[in-house]
Subunit: 330 residues, 2 copies
Amino acid sequence: MQPTLNDVAREAGVSSITVSRYFNSPDSVREATRVKVEAAIEKVGYVRNMIAGSLASASSRVIPVIVPSLSNVVFIDVIKGLQDEFEAHGYQLLLGKTDYDLARETQLIRTFLGWSAAGLVVTGLRHDDATRQILENWNQPIVEIMELGEGLDLNVGMDHVAAGRAMTEHLLARGYRTIHFAGAELDRDYRAAMRYAGHREALAAAGIEDAPLLDLPVRQQMTSGAQALERIKATFPDCDAIHFANDDMACGAILAAARLGVRIPDDIAIAGFNGLPIGEHVTPRLTTIVSPREQIGRMAARKLLARINGEPVGELSHDLGFTLRVGGST
Amino acid sequence: MQPTLNDVAREAGVSSITVSRYFNSPDSVREATRVKVEAAIEKVGYVRNMIAGSLASASSRVIPVIVPSLSNVVFIDVIKGLQDEFEAHGYQLLLGKTDYDLARETQLIRTFLGWSAAGLVVTGLRHDDATRQILENWNQPIVEIMELGEGLDLNVGMDHVAAGRAMTEHLLARGYRTIHFAGAELDRDYRAAMRYAGHREALAAAGIEDAPLLDLPVRQQMTSGAQALERIKATFPDCDAIHFANDDMACGAILAAARLGVRIPDDIAIAGFNGLPIGEHVTPRLTTIVSPREQIGRMAARKLLARINGEPVGELSHDLGFTLRVGGST
DNA sequence: CTGAAAGCGCTAACAA
DNA sequence: TTGTTAGCGCTTTCAG
């Protein structure tokens, strides 16, 4: 059996609550006592039982993080940011994945709340009624990440419509006129669909007709990108630019172009979204929008921790912005 | 306040232990009772309190997973495999990251054991004495992943020395004779160093002299790869092949080659390790070794769950193998 | 198949 | 600053 607080207390010649205080509010323990307690902990090899503590205090240092997918680097980067901050502050990250299924999200949240979580990080602003109801009745802090808008509580992300608009404005400024948007399963990846909406806004503002959308089934993203390029070359010979939903597809297209003898950007310009490292390594360099992925994670964690600790959190909704990185591909 | 088991029991007109049984061993509850309990749960909106359950039973459905880094796709894929299996069986994944620091590993493990974890997944076979001592005294199942050897308990991975050997044998069979190995911080990434050892074994077996190792500081992996190519071209004009520690570096080199006017494989052959999708999209396609990353995660989870449930686990050490994928780059 | 009693290891609330 | 008392919500054990 693992030693308990009582074992430590007995060894140190104090009461168990004093040992508890040593851990939870060290300042309220006298120096001399602290030394005795420390020695006793060392001697008996005590390890805190988080479960018992959480039950007694009705709160745990666990924070569930719910993402739709782990196959997308974007969420990996966000998790990295969250994990770094949580770990630094003694909180544990409990990982849940929905596979873009809102019912699954509800189920996960229900389970996680049974962990007396200190807070919750969830992807996106779109939820089931069931989820919404559960979370509205839950009185711990929540951060919804990735996009911006009316949220349940805190909200950290970027404006995807604006990002889509910014890229297409850039393409228009460069003189491209027949710009196709290409994505993969936009109904599921609705943030990409928001960027497409921004794309259309930019075209409308410039009085230019929208070229047909290319919405491919997801296979491997780079493969979809290569396929999109081929298909557009074959079907829409007038196309002079492709605005891809993400960098993977865009780079897939750039790499395929070399094989197909398509010159970029002379024959066709290519734009992406995310600012992944690979975009800097293809020739020509990819024009893309750098999304603040890891930053979103960090900021979300900081706000959540601030709220947990009763500190001021600033704005409820935090826009982390984005930057256009122009490469040779446009 | 959340409703408790007692609230459900009162509502259903049974005792709380019956409700507990409804959850934990449904077969031991009569049909009629089950119906009443179900209705009561629904009515009061009961959510199981995992914390209380874990305290009473001294076990939780939490499984800590400790990885060195989240910046490496390899671990992401492994986590994906683990997460899928755990989630399917009602276990929660608690994520810890060591940054390649064994002391940090010890600390994480200590904390996690305080969660009455049902098992543990940890990366690698190299640990602190402190870690080793804690884990040897812990009587829950443990899986050490990625590499193969004498482990604490279960072990799932692949043979990195053999992988390095296989690749260099391939290069030798292709007629390359001055083969440099290039990695990034091999002291930290000791599994890459094992592949380097395999590389040297293959050279020694062929009676060929080892060319100098290129061990670069990690920046961005693809950048390191590009840099390695430049440096080798400048310093070792006789080099006819580079065996890279991973695909990121290898692809960085292939992409840089196009810019530098280096012909692959005519001027220099390039080989990688991992079998990432990008290797299939560069020109020429990358010759690499496909590592069973997600499979390692899945198998590790399955073995752990089997052990937890008292089922047979088969071999303690499970070699998932690897396959050589030959592209045009060699 | 169902129940009563006891207690998991810790912390909140109050007291000294 | 330290201690006492009484649970947190569940499961274990033993009884029926």
